[in-house]
Amino acid sequence: MERNQMRRQLALIRQSFFDQGFLDEQFIQLEELQDDANPNFVEEVVTLYYRDSSRLILNIDQALERNPLDFNKLDNYMHQFKGSSTSIGAKKVKAECTQFREYCKAGNSEGRCMRTFQQLKKEYAILKRKLEAYFQQARQAGPLETACRSRN
């Protein structure tokens, strides 16, 4: 019972991710890739993403401290970051990346770049928390629940 309830809850949470625009189709693709050979595939990928992207965030932070800003470099970093974020379907984060790059291209909006990046980091952190909680709950609910769909 409890387990079922947990599963139902999990499903709702998962659905909210999509409804609220935190995640997109790509996340479902990851879920579909999960199978017996890789039962925790999605979680592994997400973990990998957060680990790798934190390094990028650090680089961007540092780059933003320079004066004047090297927009090219920033754009480059952000390009990488965006690529990474698309891998897990981090929709909001991706949107912030795009916005940031626009400002970089304009090349004259330091303030906007900074603000966008702050926003980006916020979204990034929010998603991280949500996903961590989600995976934890999934583990509690039982292996079947990690993803709504599992395929072999």
Binding site: Q29, L33, L48, D52, Q80, S87
Partner: protein
């Protein structure tokens, strides 16, 4: 599993397709790996481009297809793409989160089979096997085209005296086709046929370059090369496509060299495909080297671009041929009027491979094709080629490949002692094509020149048209060169010279950029070899070369190619650059 899909499950093709994935993003690498595995493919992953190249080189014929990201820290994805195309001739798929048209176009120009946008769906990966299959089929076609070109060239070339070059396309075609088909079937079924995929090892490439040099750049043709190389299992198609790549590679190198070589400052960042002639600044670059040659050589570079708009590298050969002819005409027409580059337009040579960022040195179209592409940079070309590279302007239009040419030109300069070397007569095109090989050869320095002249062109009687051509071919070389052996650039530079194409200078540019790359793979002694020999430009009938010659070189448009061909151009000699570290 040595060739083709040597997979234990070859019957169930495409299962077991051996894929190499290169991406610096670990998250994506993991995802792609999983996706490909789900497609029942045999996956190998890599974080770095260099690592990927090593893997590919180590296990020749160990992979069927490569998927690579565009943005990587250690090497540009496009560059990797070129190398793979050159050395291994594998289909490469590019990926990026950036779907900008310009990027995609760049990818295609560099030879990518496909360009996927991230996030990538599994269904997109499922069908990648089609690229492998398609490539095989295209190889056959290319060869056939080459044959056609050769025939055309001979018809067009006014002085295609080099009868050796023309091989009977028809015969070849039919033969090729037969072989190919036969092989093709077998390939998929049982990898017994050697034809499946030729891995151009350094040795093999060296043989190739050697053969090219021996034959003479202007006379080079896949068949001849094949005969000389004496490698049993190699087919004419293999050689033909390799030759094409080689030329592309050289031209790319040349472009790069051109860029580096501050030639007349011709900066054509992007050759407007539409305006081949004008933009071939490379011509000027060529003239740089040659001093004399420069004038003659009208880089048909622009031509290439124009033409090449549609033809990608593959077709480059075809186009080049046509371009060549045109160039010839142009060249002969008026040395001082490089602008005649119009013919260059025909170089459908796909500049794609050329990343001409180099600004082609404007060469003087007027310079008599004296590209003596001698190995020793005896800028024979200089002799009278005094290409008035007006390319300055032209270059700007020149396709990106332009720069390459410049470099080459520079080199040539040193060498053109006898501008006539470039005896491009009628063979301009071939010359240019040959030039490519020169690049490799030029290791010593000629490379920068329109290379063809240097090596093979001893006698460029460039007065005519051929000059331009030389350079053109380089384009492909650059890309190709990296992996292939320094094909004897027997640039039929001599031909070029004779044609007086103002290309003379043009030829150089091609080489120049190639040099660098060439050295990378040419390792060395080829250069000297090739260059020293008189680059006899093959007649136009050898489409192979033509194709190679970056057409921007040929650009007859030289409408004002003022390629300041000053032999002192610093076109880096290919000699070392060719090989990619």
């Amino acid at each position: 599993m040595e060739n083709g899909f040597s997979s234990p499950r070859s019957e169930s093709f495409p299962a077991g397709l051996r894929v190499l994935v290169v991406d610096d993003d670990p998250t994506w690498l993991k995802i792609l790996e999983k996706m490909l595995k789900k497609c029942a493919y045999d996956v190998t992953t890599c974080h770095l481009a260099r690592e990927a190249l090593n893997l590919l080189r180590e296990r020749k014929d160990g992979y069927d297809i490569v998927i690579s990201d565009v943005n990587m820290p250690d090497m540009d994805g496009f560059k990797l793409l070129e190398h793979v195309g050159l050395e291994m001739d594998l289909p490469v798929i590019m990926m990026s989160v950036d779907g900008e048209t310009s990027k995609v176009m760049k990818g295609v120009q560099h030879g990518a089979c496909d360009y996927l946008l991230k996030p990538i769906r599994m269904k997109e990966l499922r069908n990648i096997w089609q690229h492998v299959f398609r490539k095989k089929i295209h190889e056959i076609r290319d060869i056939e085209h080459e044959n056609i070109d050769i025939i055309q060239m001979s018809r067009n070339g006014s002085d295609l005296s080099d009868d050796g070059q023309m091989y009977c396309g028809e015969d070849y075609n039919s033969k090729k086709r037969k072989d190919f088909d036969k092989n093709d079937d077998k390939d998929f079924g049982d990898h017994s046929t050697k034809k499946h995929r030729v891995v151009w090892s350094v040795d093999l490439h060296q043989k190739f370059v050697k053969a090219v040099n021996q034959i003479g750049f202007d006379k080079v043709g896949p068949k001849k090369i094949l005969d000389l190389m004496n490698v049993q299992w190699l087919t004419r198609e293999n050689v033909a496509s390799h030759l094409q790549k080689y030329r592309l590679y050289l031209s790319r190198l040349q472009k790069e060299n051109d860029l580096k070589a501050s030639f007349g400052g011709i900066k054509h960042s992007d050759f407007p495909p539409k305006d081949p002639a004008a933009s071939y600044g490379h011509q000027s670059s060529i003239s740089l080297n040659q001093n004399d040659v420069a004038n003659g050589y009208q880089f048909c570079g622009s031509n290439f671009i124009a033409q090449d708009a549609d033809t990608k590298n593959h077709e480059g050969d075809l186009k080049i041929v046509s371009e060549m002819t045109e160039i010839k005409r142009t060249l002969t027409a008026d040395v001082s009027d490089p602008q005649k580059a119009r013919s260059s337009k025909s170089f459908g040579h796909s500049f794609a491979p050329l990343e001409t960022e180099a600004s082609y040195p404007a060469f003087d179209s007027t310079n008599p094709p004296e590209f003596s592409w001698r190995e020793n940079t005896e800028t024979q070309v200089k002799k009278e080629l005094k290409p008035h590279l007006q390319l300055e302007d032209g270059y700007s239009q020149l396709p990106p490949h332009g720069p390459q040419h410049q470099i080459q030109m520079n080199q040539l300069q040193s060498d053109p002692e006898d501008t006539s070397v470039l005896s491009l007569t009628g063979r301009d095109i071939s010359g240019s094509m040959e030039i490519k090989p020169l690049f490799t050869e030029f290791k010593s320095k000629h490379v920068s020149h329109v290379s063809p002249t240097e090596s093979a062109i001893d006698t460029f009687p460039v007065q005519t048209k051929s000059q331009l051509i030389n350079h053109q071919s380089f384009e492909p070389i650059s890309t190709v060169i990296s992996s292939t052996k320094p094909q004897g650039f027997n640039l039929s530079i001599t031909d070029l010279e004779s044609s007086q194409s103002n290309l003379t200078s043009a030829s150089d540019p091609n080489f120049a950029p190639i040099n660098e790359d060439l050295t990378v793979w040419l390792q060395g002694d080829y250069y000297s070899r090739n260059f020293g020999q008189s680059i006899d430009f093959i007649d136009y009938d050898d489409p192979g070369f033509l194709a190679e010659v970056p057409f921007y070189l040929y650009d007859p448009l030289t409408a004002d190619f003022q390629c300041p061909i000053d032999s002192t151009t610093e076109c880096p000699i290919v000699d070392q650059g060719l090989f990619i570290a």
